[in-house]
């Protein structure tokens, strides 16, 4: 049996088509890896008991010649994406026993393609965090060093792919929740242009920022998943019909130098420079750019995001679904249910969001943040007249040790390079760029103009070919 850790979706698909491998064999090998490693790594919160049945059906589909590139491929799903009839907890005690009553758009697409849904993966509660330490079900661990975090919030999905439990996974990215764990686990992780992938069936965190995207070992694999899950959906009014092919083949990279001056680990910066050199050899032109508003993207994010969180999570009141803790009256029941159901970070962001939206502070925080958000959008719009991509490290550090970032603000600062893609809606990808002296993966991040999603995948291949 081929080693799953080195097997790509592309290769497995070819082998199954030729009859050299069956989905049942592939899924069995993945299940064996899960059985051996999941107790330690805690990537999956639940492994679906019918995975082999799904694989059998996929094998029949392949035999009948009706297979797609994803037929029979084992895929892991982040625990905030709804699958009809299955539990979906968002990493929270609040929804620990909640069962989804319909399929998310992306799940419908994966099922139609014949993919095998392997299970639901661990995450920071309601996708809030950068380490999975905020999961109500214990953190996931980094397969490169189990004393370190895998990144978050989609940490479980990253671990599942990196440790050979599946060949690809879905995550959601509100401020870096796909790209940062991809970087920490040596994978390709992509946040599509806002609206390219439907959010119908994604548990809402911050609706103007959330986007579903793929984890995979290569850009070719990530593109296979992306092509499957993207497309217009009537159930998401922000979903678009525009096909994301803008700018394929263009090769000018802008580097916002001023933005890299503070708070970036020395080794990360060195790897970034080395990666730039490799890209030059691969035919890319590197240009320094000045983007004065960019440094405000993090404070703007930490105002707009909690504001949307506080309103979105108001629906979790213990009445129609989720955890209920009875109080003396209805308001008391709300309070008791929410206090028991939510973890510390969720409470913190709800309180913070309530503050920035409250009377007397709304203009100074929320409105002001939106003004700067528009300025950042404009800044990117202008800069993309002279360059095709903006490149930064994905995160200012490599994976840190559990418990190292106890102060919430310290954890927030980790999102410095990822949040602007969400604020602007621009597509962004994190690709592996080597290993640190202690064997931890590095990642670099690229952003492109709206709907240039396809062009981002090409960079990873160019970099891989020019190692």
């Amino acid at each position: 049996m081929t080693n799953i850790k080195d097997l790509t979706i592309e290769k497995a698909g070819e082998m199954m088509k030729k009859g050299e491998l069956t989905s049942v064999e592939l899924v069995s090998a993945c299940l064996k890896n899960i059985e051996e490693k999941n107790t330690e790594l805690n990537a999956f919160l639940e492994v679906f008991s019918d995975a082999l049945e799904q694989a059998q059906k996929a094998d029949e589909l392949i035999k009948s010649g009706k297979g797609t590139k994803l037929t029979g491929i084992p895929i892991a799903i982040k625990d905030n994406i709804l699958i009809n009839g299955r539990k979906v907890s968002s990493g929270s005690k609040m929804l620990e026993n909640y069962t989804a009553t319909y399929d998310a758009f992306v799940i419908k697409k994966l099922k139609e393609a014949g993919a095998v849904l392997m299970g639901r993966t661990n995450m920071d509660e309601f996708a809030m965090g950068s380490s999975t330490e905020n999961s109500a079900f214990g953190p996931a661990k980094n397969p490169f060093d189990i004393s370190r975090v895998p990144g978050g919030s989609s940490g479980g999905s990253a671990v599942a792919v990196a440790s050979g439990m599946v060949l690809g996974a879905l995550g959601s990215d509100t401020g870096g929740s796909i790209r940062q764990p991809a970087s920490f686990c040596g994978l390709v992780g992509m946040k599509p242009t806002y609206g390219t992938v439907s959010r119908s069936g994604l548990t809402a965190m911050s609706s103007s920022l959330d986007q579903i995207g793929p984890f995979a070992k290569t850009s070719e694999d990530a593109k296979i998943i992306f092509d499957c899950i993207s497309g217009k959906d009537e159930m998401d009014s922000t979903s678009t019909e525009i096909s994301p092919t803008r700018g394929v083949g263009e090769k000018i990279i802008g580097v916002p130098r001023d933005f890299l001056k503070e708070g970036v680990d020395v080794e990360v910066l060195k790897n970034f420079e080395e990666t730039l050199e490799k890209l030059k050899k691969a035919g890319y032109t590197i240009k320094d750019v000045s983007m004065p508003y960019l440094k405000y993207s993090l404070p703007v994010y930490y105002i707009i995001m909690p504001a949307e969180v506080s309103t979105n999570l108001a629906r979790l009141d213990g009445m129609r679904y989720g955890l209920q803790e009875k109080g003396e009256n209805i308001f008391d029941t709300f309070k008791k249910s929410r206090s028991l159901g939510f973890g510390p970070e969720t409470k913190r962001r709800i309180i913070l969001g309530t503050y920035v939206l409250s009377h007397g502070y709304y203009d100074a925080y929320y409105n002001k943040a939106w003004g700067i958000r528009r300025a950042i959008m404009k800044e990117y719009e202008n800069i993309f007249k002279s360059v095709n991509f903006i490149m930064t490290p994905t995160a200012p550090t490599t994976a840190w040790k559990f418990g190292d970032k106890k102060d919430p603000l310290q954890m927030y600062l980790e999102d410095i390079f990822t949040v602007s893609a969400n604020l602007t809606g621009l597509p962004s990808i994190s690709i592996p760029s080597g290993f640190s002296s202690s064997g931890l993966p590095f990642g670099v991040e690229f952003m492109g103009p709206l709907f240039s999603d396809e062009s981002l995948f090409a960079i990873e291949k160019d970099l891989r070919d020019n190692k």
Partner: protein, 96 residues
């Protein structure tokens, strides 16, 4: 900001907090707000950006306005999610 502010925000967001949680949040919020306050130094003009999104309307009917296939729900599965129900209805405490 003081403990009273935290208590007011907790009341607005319907969250019950222990004394320890209140003190912790006060400290955290001081740190976070101290950081995000830097936006007050930024001068921005009224900027118009190119939005790709627009309002999407349809008739409020289960299967029309472009909705080709109505979403199918299992009534039973939805009922099962209710923390408390009676005769197929959601049961809640007295509201008024």
């Amino acid at each position: 900001m003081d403990i009273k502010d935290i208590e007011k925000l907790a009341e607005l967001s319907k969250i019950e907090l222990s004394e320890e949680e209140k003190r912790g949040l006060l400290k955290d919020l001081d740190g976070i707000l101290g950081y995000v306050k830097q936006i007050s130094e930024v001068k921005v003009e009224d900027i118009s950006v190119e939005y790709t999104r627009k309002n999407v309307w349809r008739e409020d009917l289960p299967a029309s306005g472009g909705l080709v296939i109505p979403r199918e729900f299992s009534r039973e599965l939805i009922l099962k999610q209710f923390p408390e129900s009676k005769d197929g209805f959601l049961k809640v405490k007295k509201i008024l």
